[in-house]
């Protein structure tokens, strides 16, 4: 019973006005929680001691790792929305994966840049063609390709359906990124937080990292909902402009 209720709630959101009302209500809270988490996370990351070997550069991790996680989560959100577009024809899903692509590209870029800045003092080079780095770079290119495809088509609903197909085909890359460090023995270290036998990372570093990860996740959802809202507004304005132009033509 509860499940069907949840489904009704979810399809209610197909009405853009209801979604806008919901977004209006929850966005200030989400933004507040994000700011609070960032304040806590950043304070924690700057007050913990540096690593005995890496010194202060270890603090890059608190930005790099959450951004990298988010770059993959964003693609998963896009893949879910793509399924929503193709299977349920949910109008909000169209807007959702379109709005998520630039966010994903931004998080991926942050992960790449901070990783590069971290790599210079630690590995002695800005960039290596290692499996994880390369596959994240490919993910970045895929985001840009999707944005380009979306911009190349003028009909938004067709663009959404077509890019949904591409998102789902490109989803093959996500497991490759996730497991690249386990499959290929490379310079990038293997996962040390999400492990079956508990994290191998010290609690001193783990706590700020988790807070920062939470803050990044909240940031993503806040920006995502705001971007969806903006996209709905943009489409409404376009429609109204078109109507106004039609009326103006008739008015002579």
């Amino acid at each position: 019973m509860t499940e069907s209720l949840a489904i009704t709630k979810f399809s209610d959101l197909a009405n853009p006005t209801r979604f806008l009302a919901l977004a209006q209500r929850i966005l200030p809270y989400m933004a507040g929680v994000t700011a609070l988490l960032f304040a806590i996370g950043l304070t924690m990351s700057f007050t913990t001691e540096g690593d005995y070997q890496q010194g202060d550069t270890v603090r890059i991790m608190y930005i790099h790792v959450p951004a990298a996680w988010l770059s993959m989560m964003c693609y998963s959100v896009m893949a879910l929305s793509a399924i929503g577009t193709l299977v349920w024809r949910h109008p909000l899903a169209d807007v959702s994966h379109k709005a998520a692509a630039p966010l994903g590209a931004a998080f991926t870029l942050v992960a790449l840049v901070t990783g590069s800045l971290w790599g210079k003092p630690m590995w002695g080079t800005w960039w290596v063609w290692d499996a994880r780095l390369t596959s994240v770079f490919i993910l970045f290119l895929m985001y840009l390709g999707l944005i380009a495809l979306n911009r190349a088509m003028d009909d938004p609903s067709r663009a959404a359906r077509v890019s949904a197909v591409l998102i789902l085909v490109g989803f093959v890359n996500i497991p490759i990124i996730k497991f690249s460090v386990d499959w290929w023995n490379t310079l990038h270290q293997p996962a040390s937080v999400m492990r079956m036998d508990g994290p191998t990372i010290d609690g001193e570093f783990l706590r700020p990292l988790l807070v920062m990860a939470l803050a990044f996740t909240m940031l993503f959802f806040t920006l995502h909902i705001a971007a969806i809202r903006n996209e709905i507004w943009r489409r409404r304005i376009a429609t109204q402009r078109r109507m106004a132009a039609r009326l103006a033509g008739r008015g002579d």
């Binding site: 490919i138 067709r158 197909v165």
Partner: protein, 219 residues
Amino acid sequence: MTALLLRDLKLSVRAGGGALIGVLFFMTVVAVMPFGVGPDLNLLARIGPAIVWIGALLSALLGLDRMFQTEREDGSLDLLLMQEHPLVVTVLVKCIAHWLANVLPLVIASPLLGLFMNMSEVAIGAVMLTLLVGSPALTLIGSVGAAVAVTLPRGGLLVSILVLPLCIPVLIFGVSASYAAVEDPAPFLPPFLILAAITMFFAVLGPVGAALALRNAGD
């Protein structure tokens, strides 16, 4: 289905089809390489398999955007969409025809380019074999890109940008299998079998995705 296969083959072999342009492009790309890296024969022999693979990858992308676009322009795409056969099978047949007409010549031309690159006989054979097994995957992945961009008037560049990232696994295992055939410690069979697996995987996923995109791209 056979009729469709023959029709596509005839269209691409005839003037304006551009099947042989791909081979010319392939040769040009490979011929440009020695100018870039210098005519050192030992170096060329070492990087030869990679160069031939990259050249083949780029040339295979060349004709992709025309895969469904010519059909869309003369209206026969609507007939293909409406017929009784499942669209997935139609797309698969079109992929086979595209591969036979545009990519198979590349595979046949690759030994000649291998000679230019001063590669050993084993390496030439390995490159040709891996291309034969791996290049269908390029066409199958490309069919999704071609179907996605079918309504765009100048989608050629966009198709390449969308398809190239997905083709990288094919390139990785194709090149590593070719190197494994020449260099002793690495075994040839595992990367080669993974390459075959990728081709078969995309033989399923590619036509399904392309058919889905074609249905949705229609007006």
